[in-house]
C-alpha cells in the first residue's frame, strides 16, 4: 500500500545529508515550509546548497537556517527582502556564496530539472552581466543564452492539502515554486495543513500529482513567518 504520510517533520528530514542541495518553496513568507526548515535546523545537516527565491526574514525559517551557518551557497533571484539581515551580513563577510538567477530563469531551470531537459535557451539576461560567461546562440536573428537545469537532493515544500498518494493542492500565491520544486528533487518532502482521503482532491484540480512527492507531514497550524518576525522570535526557541 502506498502511504507517503509520515508522523513528524523530524522523521521526514532525518536523512538530509551534509552537502545536500535542497530546494525550498516560497516567495517571501507565502509558501515557505517553516516547520520543515526548523526540523532541518534541529537535524543539523550543514554545507547545504539552498535553492529558494529569497533568503528569509528575521531569524526564523530560512533566515534561521542561514544564521546557523548551515548554508554554504544560496541560489536565488532576490536575496534582499524586508527584514532580511542574516544573509546580507554573512554575504558581506564572504561567509556565504550566492548564485543570482533571474526569477523566471530560476523557475525554468527547476522545471527543466524535473522534466529531464538538461539545458534550454532563454532571452532573459542577454546583454546583461548575468549573461557573462554564458554560452549564447542566435535563433531567427534573436540572441539567447543557454541555461542548465537545476536538480536537488531534497525539496521542502509547503502545500495546503494532501492525500496518501501525495497529490497536492496549494493556497493562492503560496503555490509559487512548490509545484516545480516537487518535480526536481530526488526526495520531495511536503508539509500540509490538511490531510484528506483519496478522492478528497478533485482529480481535475490536483496541482502536484503524487508521483512527484515522496513524503508528507501534517502541520496543522503552520507558523506565520511575518508574525514571528514582528515578535522578534528566533529559532530555536
Amino acid at each position: 500500500m502506498i502511504n507517503k504520510i509520515l508522523s513528524s517533520a523530524e522523521e521526514a528530514v532525518h536523512d538530509i545529508f551534509d552537502g545536500a542541495t535542497i530546494m525550498i518553496s516560497g516567495f517571501g513568507e507565502a509558501g515557505s515550509p517553516i516547520e520543515l526548515i526548523h526540523a532541518l535546523i534541529d537535524q543539523g545537516a550543514k554545507n547545504l546548497t539552498i535553492v529558494s527565491n529569497n533568503t528569509g526574514s528575521g531569524e526564523v525559517g530560512l533566515a534561521a537556517l542561514i544564521a546557523h551557518k548551515r548554508v554554504k551557497k544560496m541560489i536565488c533571484s532576490f536575496p534582499r527582502t524586508a527584514n532580511s539581515t542574516v544573509f546580507p551580513e554573512l554575504f558581506k563577510k564572504g561567509e556565504i556564496e550566492l548564485e543570482i538567477v533571474p526569477q523566471g530563469t530560476l523557475a525554468e531551470r527547476i522545471r527543466a530539472g524535473g522534466a529531464g531537459i538538461p539545458a534550454f535557451y532563454t532571452p532573459t539576461s542577454v546583454g546583461t552581466p548575468l549573461a557573462d560567461h554564458k554560452e549564447s546562440r542566435t535563433f531567427d536573428g534573436i540572441t539567447y543564452v543557454m541555461e542548465h537545469a537545476i536538480k536537488a537532493d531534497f525539496a521542502l515544500v509547503k502545500a495546503l492539502k494532501a492525500d496518501r498518494y501525495g497529490n497536492l493542492i496549494y493556497n493562492k500565491t503560496a503555490r509559487n515554486f512548490g509545484p516545480i520544486m516537487c518535480t526536481a528533487a530526488k526526495t520531495t518532502i511536503i508539509q500540509v495543513e490538511y490531510l484528506v482521503n483519496l478522492g478528497g482532491i478533485d482529480p481535475e484540480c490536483v496541482v502536484t500529482p503524487g508521483i512527484f512527492v515522496q513524503r508528507v507531514v501534517h502541520i496543522e497550524n503552520p507558523a506565520q513567518e511575518s508574525k514571528l518576525v514582528a515578535e522578534n522570535r528566533r529559532y530555536p526557541w
Binding site: 500500500m1 524535473g114 522534466a115 492525500d163 478522492g199 482529480p203 500529482p209 508521483i211
Partner: protein, 217 residues
C-alpha cells in the same frame, strides 16, 4: 540447429503474470498498448501500483462496464478506461515531465526486436511504404527508470526477435532492462543477455538455438 517453435512455453497471461510479480508495491507504471495492458490483471493482492497513461491520467483504473464508457476518459491506446480515487488529470507537457524526468518506475512495452545490448525496435519495420508512427514509445524508453519488454520469443515465421543487432529502426539504444518471452525471462546485463528463468520444458540449449542473440546462463 534445433527446429524452431516446437515448445510454446508460457501463454500470454503467464507472461503478463511474470511481469506483474516483478513490479514492486507502490510503483508508478506505464503499460504499453496491447499485451502489456494484461499485466494489470495479475498484480498480487495487497500491492498497490499506480498506472500512468501518457495522454494525461495518473491513477488509471480498469475498463468501465459496458455502456459506461466516456469518450473523454481514455488511455494511450484510445480505449475507454476509468480513474481510481486519488487519480489526477494533466496536460501532455506535464505528462511527459513524468516520463522524461525519470519519475515513472516501470514501463512495459511490446517489441519487434530486442538486441543483446538492450537496443529496442518497436515502432517501425522500416519498410519504404510504411507510415511512420511513433507516439510516446521513444519518450518512454528514454525516460522511464526500468523498461520491461514483453514479447513472443520468435515471429510467426520463426525468426528470433531477440537479436544481436536490431535490423529495424531503433526506438532507443541500450534501454531495455529485462525481456519476458513465452520461452524465458532475460536480463540485459553488461556481460550480455542473462537467462533469469526458462519456461517449463525449455532447456538452455533449446533456448539458444531459437535465439539469434548470444545468451548467458
Amino acid at each position: 540447429m534445433v527446429e524452431k517453435n516446437i515448445i510454446q512455453g508460457w501463454d500470454v497471461n503467464q507472461m503478463a503474470q511474470k511481469v506483474a510479480l516483478d513490479i514492486p508495491d507502490g510503483s508508478y507504471v506505464n503499460l504499453g498498448i496491447g499485451i502489456p495492458e494484461k499485466v494489470a490483471a495479475f498484480v498480487p493482492e495487497g500491492r498497490e501500483l499506480i498506472y500512468h497513461t501518457e495522454n494525461g491520467l495518473l491513477g488509471m483504473g480498469p475498463a468501465p462496464a459496458p455502456g459506461e464508457e466516456d469518450p473523454e476518459l481514455i488511455n494511450a491506446g484510445k480505449k475507454a478506461v476509468t480513474a481510481i480515487p486519488g487519480a489526477c488529470y494533466f496536460h501532455h507537457a506535464d505528462s511527459f515531465t513524468m516520463i522524461r524526468g525519470k519519475h515513472i518506475d516501470v514501463c512495459v512495452l511490446g517489441a519487434l526486436q530486442v538486441a543483446e545490448n538492450g537496443d529496442l525496435a518497436n515502432w517501425s519495420t522500416g519498410e519504404p511504404d510504411a507510415i511512420p508512427a511513433v507516439g510516446g514509445a521513444m519518450d518512454l524508453v528514454a525516460g522511464v527508470k526500468t523498461i520491461y519488454v514483453i514479447t513472443k520469443h520468435n515471429t510467426k515465421t520463426g525468426e528470433s526477435k531477440i537479436v544481436k543487432r536490431c535490423s529495424y529502426p531503433l526506438t532507443g539504444k541500450a534501454v531495455v532492462n529485462r525481456i519476458y518471452t513465452n520461452l524465458a525471462i532475460l536480463d540485459v546485463t553488461d556481460q550480455g543477455l542473462q537467462v533469469k528463468e526458462m519456461a517449463p520444458g525449455v532447456s538452455f540449449e533449446y533456448l539458444q538455438a531459437v535465439t539469434e542473440a548470444t545468451l548467458i546462463l
